[in-house]
Amino acid sequence: MKKLLHRLAGLLTLRTSAVLTLLGLAFMVWSMVKPTPLPVMLAMSVGQGLGTTAFAIYAYIVIREIRREMQRARERDPS
């Protein structure tokens, strides 16, 4: 279980986020170029799901990074 969690955490990278965003955008653009039931439904469900996941990963990584920077700054200058 720990190994699995470690592997999942390893997937949380900005590259993964970028790839997921590209996939989500592809679904959204497909629905606009070909507005038939299947593309429209996939864009509004899978496409937006991928986009939201990608942004959540980005936010997680950036916030984690900012907190680390603040921690380092505190360690350098405890006052």
Binding site: L22, L25, S31, M32, A43, Y58, V62, E65
Partner: protein, 229 residues
């Protein structure tokens, strides 16, 4: 297709945002820059702001697209209805309404939409049901069979007609039949599209006795319109 995208500002904006976001993401994936403040800001635009703009404008464009006759007719079982609506010589109610500029390309939606407070949501949920039915029951149905079996789930409501034909106009009430049946038309007891009045909306509409019964839905006792599924 290009002219369609350019003529539709929402679609053009959505695709433009998506292209810029994709370019920034491809740049990030290929160059692998260090995670500086500038990189974070570029990624905020590429992963957050621009895709959000694409999703928002894309949603609006998508919902608008679902109102188009082209969208309704993209399932093969609906093509006879679409062709009838587009036929300039057809005298069916649907075709005559499609020739009205107020309905135009959205004539299916104008008559089949729910106009209640949550009408759009209810109509879209109904649309999801249509897609479910199509994918699981009608995808391989022949056109001949579809014409015989497909029918409305519930009787068509006069309220939908009354959304435009309010039944209060002088010329409307000047028609003897309208005046004598006013209360029964307003209450929905007599359908506007019943055989003795304006007739069925589509050439393939089924008379009540020819409908395939759906055990899940009890028919209205005096329904004169198509029902079920």
């Amino acid at each position: 297709m290009v002219s369609w995208i350019i003529s539709n500002p929402l679609v053009a904006a959505a695709i433009g945002s998506a292209v810029v976001a994709a370019l920034l993401l491809v740049w990030y994936l290929l160059r692998r820059p260090a995670l500086t403040h500038a990189t974070k800001l570029v990624l905020l635009a590429a992963i957050g702001v621009l895709p959000l703009a694409t999703a928002t404008t894309g949603n609006i464009a998508g919902f608008e697209a679902t109102k188009e006759r082209q969208f309704c007719g993209s399932c093969h079982v609906m093509t006879p209805y679409k062709h009838d609506s587009e036929d300039r010589r057809s005298t069916s109610l649907a075709a005559r309404h499609a020739r009205n500029d107020l309905f135009g390309e959205a004539n299916c939606y104008a008559c089949h939409a729910d106009y209640g407070m949550f009408g759009t949501v209810v109509t879209k949920l109904g649309g999801l049901r249509h897609i479910y039915e199509y994918v699981f029951h009608y995808r391989n149905t022949s056109l001949e069979e579809a014409r015989e079996t497909i029918h409305l789930r519930r009787p068509f409501q006069n309220a939908t007609c009354m959304h435009c034909h309010s039944t209060q106009g002088t010329s409307w009430n000047a028609t003897k039949e309208h005046a004598s049946l006013l209360d029964r038309v307003r209450s929905g007891e007599i359908s506007c599209a019943s055989a003795g009045c304006h007739g069925p909306a589509h050439p393939f509409s089924k008379p009540p006795q020819a409908r395939v019964p759906d055990p899940a839905i009890a028919p209205a006792p005096d329904a004169t319109q198509e029902q079920a599924r």
